[in-house]
Symmetry: C2
Subunit: 150 residues, 2 copies
């Protein structure tokens, strides 16, 4: 999958490149690899991990500064979400599907995603009640996962 062809990813990448061009910016092989790694990774990766995976999987070296700049760019484009789990290192994930939140194991660091329609609805009410124009929300639940609780 990662080294072969994936039609969905190809379409996604093509679309991304088109949008980049549309706003007058330039595409690069580096951004392609970064998106590829984010797309095929189910995990929430740090900048360091993204760089390492590109090296491992494709034997291409990308400067860490480039990764950080790409993440900022992708975040501005609303294509990437940031996740802070409290250890001072920002993790990134592609924002392809609908909004979801996270369940984090405080013992092993495992991250599980979940979606909850009630929370999605509730945040609107809370924002309204406080006269806020809602933008987004982050909900993170901390606990012990099944394995760590044995």
């Amino acid at each position: 999958m990662e080294n072969g062809n994936d039609v969905a990813f190809d379409i996604f990448l093509k679309n991304f490149k088109k949008n980049v061009s549309k706003i007058g910016l330039k595409n690069s092989i580096q951004k392609d690899y970064i998106l590829k790694v984010l797309y095929f990774s189910k995990e929430h990766l740090t900048a360091e991990e993204i760089s390492n995976k590109i090296k491992q999987n494709y034997n291409v070296s990308i400067g860490i500064a480039t990764v950080y700049r790409a993440m900022k760019f992708l975040n501005d484009m609303k294509l990437v979400d940031l996740l802070e789990i409290g250890d001072g290192i920002v993790r990134y994930e592609l924002n392809l599907s609908k909004h979801h939140d996270h369940l984090i194991c405080t013992s092993c660091g495992k991250i599980i995603e979940f979606t909850d329609d009630f929370i999605e609805l509730n945040q609107i009410k809370i924002a309204e009640k406080n006269n806020f124009i809602l933008k987004e929300h982050v909900m993170t639940i901390y606990g012990l996962c099944e394995s760590c609780n044995e």
Copy 2:
């Protein structure tokens, strides 16, 4: 208030000191001032701000390292909660009342606290559904506050 007497705070501080002694550790004037500032501040303060406020309000200088060490200590004692709003600087608040969440204005940085029983209940269900032993949760809603939306 801040320079006068506040019975509630005095009791709180006395109790804190008793607990510190109970676990065989030592009290210090520095921790007293740090707690005092946290107690009377309605805001969520950074380590730097805590140190500055102590200097301004009481004309006492406390090393920033001491503040960080105190925050870690107070956090371990579950007396202080950390708040990360995404700018890379950790903010602290005394955890005296029941759990609450935050509404943050992405324009001016204003922080409003709110409590929502539904969210409190819902997190339990979500944790259970994923076989997690619930510890705590953090919910943060981002948006534009009234003033910033004019």
